[in-house]
Amino acid sequence: MTAAEPVYRLGEFHSLNAAGRRFLYLVPAGAIFELDDAAAALLDSVGGGATRAELLRRLEARGIAEAEDLIEELRAARAIVTGDEPADDPAAPPEDFPLQTLVMNLTNQCNLSCQYCYEFGEDKVATPQGKPKFMDLETAKSSVDFLLEQSAGRRAVHITFFGGETLMNFPLLKQVVAYANDRAARQGRTIDFSLTTNATLLTPAIIGFLSENRIGVTVSMDGPPELHDKLRVFANGRGSYDIIAPRVRELIARHRTRPITARVTLTRGVTDVIRIFRHLKQDLGFHEVGFAPVTTSPDRLYAIGDRGMDGVLDQFHTLAEEWHQYALRGQMHGFSNVSDTIAELVQGVNKSHPCGAALGLVGVGPSGDIAPCHRFVDSDTHALGHISRGIDRAKQRDFLSRGHISAKYDCRSCWARPLCAGGCHHEAFVRYGDTGHPNLHYCGWIRDWTETCLKIYCSLSAQNPEFLDRFAERKALS
């Protein structure tokens, strides 16, 4: 008996054109190749499947020389396959995966009452009853020690301060920075810091401290007054724009050591992406502006809905094309949503999990409870242990195994899965009641957006490749 001759078929990839050239995005590797004429001819010759002899004949007819090598090359890259290759899901990360980032929720209190807040809004997962409202110094110190101990092997680690409103516990923040710097220095390591704030409590002294200590700042802000004030309000319903605008201007003027970022939450009626971007970037002077649709169950009044989201995407495309034109001239544009995706494409990530939650990153609440990330802080259901006892490995395993890409059946055939991996665990929980559920409500948008960013990437790789190098060090999981 002789074995049947292997039949070559197309591997799993997404093909696209940019700058007049053909590119392949190989799934699940996350690799991007530009096709030359010969490789393109080979892929076009495979059709519904062909034996080696048939392939060679078809290529010869197209005048392609050295077809044997070409077949081997494309087969090794899995652009073509014969069906006997092993399946290659990203492996589960090792259990002792070292921490990189700790998000410290200094307080769960806030001076604003944004309806959509995932910490205290209608879809909240937090159960703060009976727990401390402010983190104390002991818990904070233990958290720093925990981070340094659990990140062995990493020279530089990161602490993000979060809330509630972070600056409501600024005295603790100062103490933590001093303590953490001292601890890290003794081990010959470094810690860098960032924080997210609503900017209402910024003072010249605080701004001075943030700049001196190179603390990265993200301001939650939704645009010009009439949009920002819709949901970002004080408890009495008054908008917060007038309070924060002068403070933000001063922050941007005086904090010169790190780029200052705005983070916009899009909701129903707050979808004017381009106007928001122009205001935050040009009028206020933020270095970067990033957008995310609100995380919510679909029936909330502020949920955007499919049609609203399509409008958002249209405007994303306009800004993305601007970003592209800036990049061709070697300039930074400031639309973070493109920059972040480009940074991941530079590496060619193929994620086992959508983000670093419960892996390289954990959140710690005021009570010392450890959560997969800041979005789950203070939730009893999702707690992964306590800072005094460390991470509960069984709970962590459960969280990670449910969030692993191989556990998400719907993602199996999606070409965007190396980057998306099913999407935010928290969003999935709010929508579907399961952190491991793929976020099926935005698959179409994710593929559309990934395609847009891929095209920009491919175009730049042909026309201004040096520009892409600037993103090589940008954190892949932001």
Binding site: F23, F33, E34, L74, A76, A77, Q347, G348
Partner: protein, 111 residues
């Protein structure tokens, strides 16, 4: 194909490396001094070792012991049982064309 991101470059390097490997096997004299050849071993070809069947004989084995001599001697290097054909005793079985008939011509060696 031209690699345009880091992952693609890693795949490219891997392909290049595997080409070099194939080249090295085809040209054993090419790469400077020739080093002893150490095969992967019979564990990969799933031949039985020196064994007896349930009755204490060899007839019930899927491969008779006489065949095993050559499994260990020619295709493999199993120093516990047979001389090393590849590096030190290339002529050990020279007078033994058929093991079932000529096995008496296989002699001991004294390293």
């Amino acid at each position: 194909m031209r690699a345009v991101n880091r992952k693609a470059r890693r795949i490219e390097n891997q392909i290049d490396a595997s080409r070099d490997e194939a080249f090295a096997l085809q040209n054993p004299q090419g790469g400077g001094q020739q080093r002893p050849h150490v095969p992967m071993g019979c564990s990969l070809s799933f031949s039985p070792g020196w064994e007896v069947d349930s009755a204490g004989g060899t007839s019930g084995l899927c491969q008779p012991v006489e065949r095993d001599i050559y499994d260990c001697y020619v295709t493999c290097f199993w120093p516990a049982q047979v001389p090393d054909h590849l590096n030190n005793y290339p002529d050990w079985a020279a007078k033994c064309a058929a093991a079932t008939k000529d096995w008496r011509n296989l002699d001991l060696v004294f390293p």
